[in-house]
Amino acid sequence: MKLWICPFNSDKFQVEVDDAATTMDLKEAIAKVENSSAETQRLIFAGSVLKDSEQLSSYNIVDGVSIHYVRGRAPRAAAAAAPAAAPARPATTPAPAPAAAPRPASAATPSAASVPTNISAGFDPSRSVIGAGEFSLANADLGSILSAIPGGLSSLIGDGEEGSSGLPDFEAVNQLLSQNPALREQMSQMMSDPAMMESLMNNPMFRDMLPPGSRNLMSNPAMIRLAMDPEFVQLQAQMQAVMQRHGVDLSSMMGGGGGMFGAAGASGAGSPSASQEGTNRPAAGPGAMPSLAHLEQLLSAFGGAAGAGAGAAGGSPFNFGGAAAAAQAPAEPPESRFQVQLSMLQDMGFHDSAANIRALLSSGGRVDAAVEYLLRSPPDFSSGGGSGGPGSPGSN
């Protein structure tokens, strides 16, 4: 009989097996097509996970039905990573086994030993999911590494709980970093260890959110230094304060507690001017940063509305995320193309995903315009969110 195999996030294909075949036979047939191994496959039909030894007929699998196929996690050669494959197949990317995670050879302190394991095992997706740009990635690293280190440091980092702004407390991180040079040393060591970064990059969580280009950014040592620079961390804290002064509702703007640059960048990506700006490569040095005054100016020009805040950050050279998000394959379905924007809208209190997608499609992915759209067509807008009228981030 011929069966359709529907893999996670890629096109279905057909395989033919004997009517009396077992699940294992089918897996081997798939393995042949895919050139993969049968052991890591998981097959699902009508809600059941198929057991290897069972006959397909015992699940009522008949000619022509579709079987869901999830590629499992398995050890995977790091060198085989192909950054050029733009629409990465996330499910094929197994997380590096904790034991195999390379760690900086000279990490000496007790907490250092636990860090690499935690990175692969306990990565905090609430941050990483939102980040289209490596700034948020750097923040996510900061947050999750710190929270992974025993000793209660995690309490210092805003963990994206309900009610809180969802942003890591940069002040606290800054304090931590400056008080604890060993920690900083450790982190920069980790980040500058190419093997470590490689394994991070191959983590499915990152792989499918990071467009190919950002890999280079992450491996750019200057970039890393920049992200680790206490001055920069301080600057982030200041920027946060500035944005707040302007009444920008950070928590609603930020979406799922990602780094603020990632989130803002992604929303800016929809407007042409922002993505153009976004292609500014980081000059990898504090000189590349916009002055606070500049930001303040931008913010007041946009009237301090939430959408404007996002646009301002999107248009500034800070926004590597803009370029990154814009680089994503446009062929993706709107759900995944607008994943970041959707989760922002969700967090603003727009729970109707269908309406959100419609709004994003009509606004070309611009969150502020989408909010306007949603507010104009009023259906089930529940609470919170829409702080003021949208600005026009594309207009500068």
């Binding site: 996670f8 996030n9 996970v49 997706p125 963990d159 969700q346």
Partner: protein, 127 residues
């Protein structure tokens, strides 16, 4: 009946799948389903099995849904039972709702801010 057919003939990949537990069950009462954890969440790439019991009042009253695979999420009780009232995407139960809409709402909730970074039990643990 329509639901049964749709569960089996899913044309393209969805992150959920469902069907009758026992194909002979002409009352269409006991269902089971799987959800593949949404990308970018703590549930990423895990397979969650659920059981769904549609009582005689279904679809006028909500089905009883519970996870068989251990999960740590705000809408799931200590024995795996799903509290449908904690699924904002579903809202109040209405006869128009289907097993599919329940599963979609669960997935939405798995992606929500309050759940997507929860620490999860070992992958194959069951209730």
């Amino acid at each position: 009946m329509d639901e049964l057919e749709r569960g089996e003939k899913a044309a393209s990949f969805q992150s959920y799948s469902y069907g009758l537990s026992d194909a002979e069950d002409i009352t269409l009462t006991n269902w089971h389903a799987t959800i593949i954890g949404p990308n970018g969440t703590t549930f990423d790439n895990r397979i969650y099995s659920l059981s769904i019991v549609c009582g005689p009042e279904y679809p006028n009253s909500a089905p009883v849904v519970s996870f068989s695979t251990m999960i740590n999420a705000s809408f799931v009780g200590p024995r795996g039972e799903v509290d449908l009232s904690k699924l904002p995407a579903l809202g109040k139960w209405a006869p128009e709702h289907t097993i599919e809409s329940v599963l979609k709402a669960i997935i939405e909730e798995m992606k929500s801010r309050s759940n997507r970074s929860n620490k999860q039990p070992a992958e194959s643990a069951v209730y």
